[in-house]
């Protein structure tokens, strides 16, 4: 097994490590184990935030989303952004058996997602209460996330 390692002072490609048998200098991205120009992503944070949905009356009055509190800040090197994964799940075993769902804009029960705004992660919920109890908010949703951050 031979791995060719190049350390140069050139700003364009300071440090590259290729897979065995591949020339690091000309290797394509998939053959590189490390490239100084492609900052590696590292797991920076995981967790959940809980967000109570809207009552049916609030929704009928025009509200269509509820936001969670800020998580962060996510400061990454200039020109890079963190990568994040999100899914959602209702807290109530009585609703849809509490299954994990991918982010959805369906205004049903247990729907939500999240995004990064100005360096902060904010979870959102699109859950609606039931018509039979129009003033009651539905059980809160878990908005789960994993965030990978660029490191230089």
């Amino acid at each position: 097994m031979t791995r060719r390692v190049i350390i140069k002072s050139s700003s364009s490609s300071p440090f590259r490590i290729s897979a065995a048998g591949v020339d690091a200098l000309s290797a394509e991205f998939n053959d590189l184990i490390f490239d100084g120009n492609q900052p590696p992503l590292r797991l920076w944070s995981t967790g959940y935030t809980t967000i109570e949905g809207m009552s049916r009356n609030e929704y009928n009055g025009g509200q269509n989303v509820r936001e969670g509190s800020l998580i962060g800040p996510f400061i990454t090197p200039s020109g890079t952004t963190p990568v994040f994964l999100v899914n959602a799940k209702t807290s109530s075993a009585g609703v849809d058996n509490g299954r994990v769902k991918l982010p959805t804009f369906n205004s049903g029960l247990g729907s939500g997602g999240g995004g990064i705004c100005s360096g902060y992660f904010i979870g959102v919920s699109f859950s609606l209460g039931f018509p039979a109890t129009p003033s009651v908010r539905p059980p809160f949703d878990y908005i789960n996330y994993a965030i990978f951050k660029n490191f230089n």
């Binding site: 944070s45 995981t46 967790g47 959940y48 935030t49 509190s69 998580i71 009585g94």
Partner: protein, 148 residues
């Protein structure tokens, strides 16, 4: 480091685990303090689901939510019968009772402090989900099947 962020009554509404150095963790704690968030931190594997844990706000400790000592007489009853009922006993006073069928709420009743039992008669065959909520107890869930 795992951070459990809680509401004034001890409900955990956010649980974050940061894989970062001391400097970043200090910055994160400063952010929480600046936002007026209450939190406790713990070095641990996994997370603390809000359904099962809460924060004792005086001791600032994470503890398990208690389980309601409810017993159900039977899971299957005869639909439309005036005599066959599922009886729930041992209910803490002041629970919120929610009954669902086909993923929709059909009844939601705030029970009184003296109400510690439920006698459930069901007119239409279906599987009904009965849920009882009271802070800081865990949610109680039971399925009652009403057969034709």
């Amino acid at each position: 480091m795992m951070y459990a962020i809680y509401l004034p009554d001890g409900r955990i509404h956010q649980c974050n685990k940061h894989y970062a150095g001391e400097e970043e963790l200090e910055a994160y704690e400063k952010l929480l303090n600046d936002n007026g968030e209450k939190f406790v931190k713990r070095q641990m594997a996994g997370f603390l689901p809000a359904e099962s844990f809460f924060v004792d706000v005086n001791a600032k400790e994470i503890i398990e939510r208690p389980i309601m000592p409810i017993e159900v007489s039977k899971p299957v009853i005869q639909a439309g019968s005036n005599e066959d009922a599922a009886i729930f006993t041992g209910i803490p006073g002041g629970c919120l009772l929610t009954i669902m069928a086909a993923n929709e709420v059909i009844q939601s009743i705030q029970m009184g402090e003296q109400d510690t039992e439920i006698e459930l008669f069901i007119p239409v065959p279906c599987t009904y989900r009965v849920m009882l909520d009271k802070w800081p107890y865990r949610q109680f869930v039971a399925n009652i099947e009403a057969t034709a």
